[in-house]
């Protein structure tokens, strides 16, 4: 083999008829006067012929029916499962989005409950005082029962002066 010899790649492509016409002619001309390349080309061609001589391999079985059976068997459980679901299961499936993530929903439910409890307890602290003699805005008649704890006079004690006690007591 010398530096002018075509590489295996060119000889291999020649066997496959995958060389452009010009390159093909060059390789063939070279191989005609180079025993090494001629031998290599002959080997590649003989290899190609040996592959062609390999016996045919056949399954002798109808795989069409087998594969279709397999596909149907794989699809059957899903179809049956949906067909045999009772009305309870179907109903449950409607609410599944709500019940599927109980842990994710619990903080929101807790926050909502705390808010409701807060409003309810806050409402219990409010006292409405009727004063029919003096018309006043409704907000003036509302006071917080809890605030009486902070009066200057503790509940049950006598007022030292008339104006010492809150407006409610003085009105009374």
């Amino acid at each position: 083999m010398n530096s002018t010899c075509p590489p295996d790649e060119a000889l291999s492509a020649l066997v496959d008829d995958a060389l452009p016409a010009e390159a093909r002619a060059e390789v063939l001309t070279h191989s005609a006067r180079c025993p090494h390349c001629a031998a290599r080309l002959a080997e590649f061609r003989a290899l190609h012929d040996a592959f062609l001589a390999l016996p045919a391999v056949s399954l002798q079985v109808d795989f069409g029916a087998r594969v279709v059976e397999r596909l149907q068997a794989a699809a059957e459980p899903r179809v049956q499962a949906s067909r045999h679901r009772g009305w309870r299961a179907r109903l449950r499936s409607l609410f599944r989005p709500l019940t599927a993530f109980p842990l994710a929903l619990s903080p929101y439910a807790g926050a909502a409950a705390a808010l409701v409890m807060g409003v309810w307890l806050g409402g219990m602290l409010l006292q409405v005082v009727d004063s029919p003699s003096q018309p006043s805005p409704p907000s003036a008649n509302v006071t917080l029962a809890a605030m009486s704890l902070f009066d200057a006079v503790p509940p049950g004690n006598l007022c030292p002066r008339a104006d010492a006690c809150g407006p409610i007591r003085s009105a009374q």
């Binding site: 291999s12 080997e43 592959f51 016996p55 391999v57 109808d62 795989f63 069409g64 594969v67 397999r70």
Partner: protein, 189 residues
């Protein structure tokens, strides 16, 4: 493959894509031997190749919506078969070069009575030599020499450039010739 087959394939694939299993069964029947032949020579185990051939068609059914008529159905199937065979070889940890037992011949290698003894010997030796070369060389040789794929199809199936196809084929042939002498039908050890 005749010119009528791809047109028949396109028609059957269109029907199969619409859910017609009978059309898909027809496709399987038409291509089962080709897929089996390739897988069998890649794996060199008949039972394994039989199971894998079925798997290839199941995978093809699942991937059928992705198939486009630009690619030949047969080439597309061989691509699925090639990937499945390589996965199987990886599972067997044989994807790296690993010579198999010499005694393991391809089950269907027995030729008809008309074949000469020398011819039978050469076929058996070619099968043996194929088992001795790397999987990437074996697959490209089988796809080119046995299945007759063009360079462009080889590039698509193997996911490589056409230039790489040319060089890999040359290397694969050189590697096979290390173990197989086609003239004398003897192996070089």
């Amino acid at each position: 493959m005749s010119e009528a087959l791809p047109a028949l394939d396109v028609d059957d694939v269109a029907r199969a894509q619409a859910g017609d299993m009978a059309a898909f069964a027809a496709l399987v029947r038409r291509h089962q031997d080709r897929v089996f032949r390739f897988v069998l020579r890649m794996l060199d185990a008949r039972d394994e190749a039989t199971d894998l051939t079925q798997d290839v068609f199941v995978k093809a059914w699942q991937a059928l919506p992705d198939w486009r008529p630009e690619a030949s159905f047969s080439t597309w199937l061989l691509q699925i078969a090639r990937n499945a065979a390589l996965d199987q070889l990886r599972r067997r940890q044989l994807v790296q070069f690993a010579p198999l037992e010499d005694g393991m011949d391809v089950a269907d290698a027995a030729p008809g009575p008309e074949a000469s003894y020398a011819g039978r010997q050469q076929q058996a030796q070619l099968d043996r030599a194929l088992r001795r070369i790397a999987a990437e060389h074996r697959e490209i040789l089988l796809l080119r020499e046995v299945e007759g794929l063009a360079y462009g199809e080889l590039a698509r199936v193997l996911g490589i450039a056409e230039g790489t196809v040319k060089s890999r084929l040359a290397r694969a042939r050189a590697a096979l010739l290390e173990h197989f002498h086609p003239h004398a039908g003897v192996t070089h050890e």
